[in-house]
Subunit: 458 residues, 2 copies
Amino acid sequence: MAALPLEPTDHPYYRNTKVTSLSVTDVRYPTSLFADGSDAMHTDPDYSCAYVVLQTDHPDGHEGHGLTFTLGKGTNVVIAAVNALEHLVVDRNVHGIFANFAAFYRTISSESQIRWIGPEKGALHLATAAVLNALWDLWAKLEGKPLWKLIVDLQPEQIISAIDFRYIRDALTENEALTILREGQTGKQDRVREMEKNGYPAYSTSCGWLGYESDLLRKKLRTFIRAGWTRFKVKVGGSLDDDIRRLTIVREEIGYDKLLMVDANQKWDVPEAISWMQQLARFKPLWIEEPTSPDDVLGHAAVAKALAPLGIGVATGEQCANRVIFKQLLQASAISYCQIDTCRLGSINEILAVLLMACKFGVPVCPHAGGVGLCELAQHMAFIDYIVISKSLDNRVLEYVEHLHEHFAAPVTMKEQNYVPPTAPGYLVGMLPSSIAKYQFPNGPVWKDLMQHKAKPV
Amino acid sequence: MAALPLEPTDHPYYRNTKVTSLSVTDVRYPTSLFADGSDAMHTDPDYSCAYVVLQTDHPDGHEGHGLTFTLGKGTNVVIAAVNALEHLVVDRNVHGIFANFAAFYRTISSESQIRWIGPEKGALHLATAAVLNALWDLWAKLEGKPLWKLIVDLQPEQIISAIDFRYIRDALTENEALTILREGQTGKQDRVREMEKNGYPAYSTSCGWLGYESDLLRKKLRTFIRAGWTRFKVKVGGSLDDDIRRLTIVREEIGYDKLLMVDANQKWDVPEAISWMQQLARFKPLWIEEPTSPDDVLGHAAVAKALAPLGIGVATGEQCANRVIFKQLLQASAISYCQIDTCRLGSINEILAVLLMACKFGVPVCPHAGGVGLCELAQHMAFIDYIVISKSLDNRVLEYVEHLHEHFAAPVTMKEQNYVPPTAPGYLVGMLPSSIAKYQFPNGPVWKDLMQHKAKPV
């Protein structure tokens, strides 16, 4: 099927809008000072991002803002990768990009020389995500809509034209995708209203970081239960004894009527994952997240098969490189929960492919969030999935972490532990310039101070 | 099994040797001007590398030299990644590294913050390869041996202690690996002598680039046949008609008594790969290389199953990210030929894991070479595999491309289309300082000239 041209708008300004420049900034928050975000593999993350701004010649001064999430060191490598992609986007007419977004995705994700250092994975694909996130933000702003609304208002054929189907046609053809999206049009407005009224169900990861002491863990859980939370995720994989001690505390505090998920962050070999989780099965976790290498499709399938009789599902995705890995996880029945990441995959273009494959294979999508900016981005995926793709909330929960939202101009809004659809135009909706200035690495005042006075390793 | 400490030497200088600095240089050769190396996905490669030098405080001035191969643009991203790893290697005692090389591999491949931008894939893993290649070069120089000889002289327990078995134990345990290596000790000296006498069989890719016109193709083939070559690889995947035209020429020139392999460089979807190769089956290729995405284990398995009745094997590896992907390709019977790459995998540490898994699964290893420096590096892998691991030459051929060897201080030596074991100490054996200076990007004279006078896009 040939790509179907989009006609996003007839406004003459829009048709003539060009990207005039790309700039990218290294922004890091020293979260490792407080063990926020610590897990079995990432013991001292400084939640960070490569923050991209695309300027345009639009008379209203519209800019596209996008980011990709990182853990501190290495952010500068992603920034080098963003700069390597700059020549592919600057001077481009944005209508030309949006009208055949799949072709542009191919241009940027498979540039003849640059693709060698990926392809479609690692630092290069994180950079691709940041640039494409900024373009989708720009498109949504030009339309004056939040990103999720831009997508759910598109015609199925328009959505298809944004997806590069290369490497996935053995699992999902263009026509199959079109059928799913056409079925998603039925009752669409009802689901929009439902989301606006009730929001999308969330779970909290804020209580369960591996670095938290018992007292802090208990105190945090109580605070969250009082606030009404009923779904919790806890890190595991440090040591089996410690996991048992901590999960005992968690179940003591939350009881067995609330949802518990556990997350090993790739700590284990396949046989180790199975035996370790057999020891934790009595805590009745809904899923084990990232039991082993994110590249190991067959390994996840083996873990899933072994744990199914115990009622434990397998979840993964935040470090799964691209749609080809997700395709195989679905083909091999390796996951019961599909955890797309808005900064790891090649933005909406590639995420739409995964949402559609997950729908075809009947696997619920539970996006990865947290970090910095991931909640702001991931909520759009949940709304899109529910409103025009899966049309289901069964077994679906969206991750929520409470920290770092204060750095965003339009942070996520929660209503009784549910995400409320944002109304501001755009995707990320922008970080506060004051935050960017303060936390810019290495020259922002926060980092200058840390490096001078506290001997923080950098 | 705990890692077994190495005792590489008792020389006091060696015990005290420290890495004192790391430097890395962007070296690019403008090969795209001549369509050398062009294929279905990489239409205009400038064969390039990130070239790493580790200086030490050794009184004899020993340095470790390593590189990772790239295609031009994006090399600077890999250089940023090398620099991000610098703090993990500088000031380290090299004996401490070599004595438990698996632990050091883990340190550099899974640093708590940096791993997010991989893990073990893409620009970061290419950088890891460059740094580790330089360390192995240093070790071999300290021992005064070529790299292959350093390895084949190690005890099986010492080889094991260099391998990170995380994520592969479901396919190969430490004890299984040890058994293979112990069996590899039998007849070892005979195989060393055999290699020194006859060399390792090679095939040529120099005739079959996609960008070559018919006349040039025919002329090149005749030259190579006159020189005694009997094994050829040709690029495919541009268009079916053109492939048929070119393969017709190839078989006209080489006949059906010589080996022909074809290489699609990831051009196809899975169903497309199968139907396209069914059309090319009459040319009797030994293998189809990279039929689809390097991440698609299940896709390669499907292609392998469909093409087996036609006598065509599947080969892949030059862009397979790490040992976890190779593990699955072997587990799923997805490849008949295992094409490790010395700059894509995490150097000897990770390559040894793949060689051992391939041996267990009975799949021949045919290393990827060509590019710049890859022949110089890959030959060591072939010798190691034959002498102490697989002990077999059946169905094994090592890629050879004739260009760019002149930039190396000790380029590969061929004897009747076979690789002759190098005798100079080290792994890569170093690029000529004059070449580095001339082709350094963007300030070397070659690039300054191209940018000023020929408007070469950069």
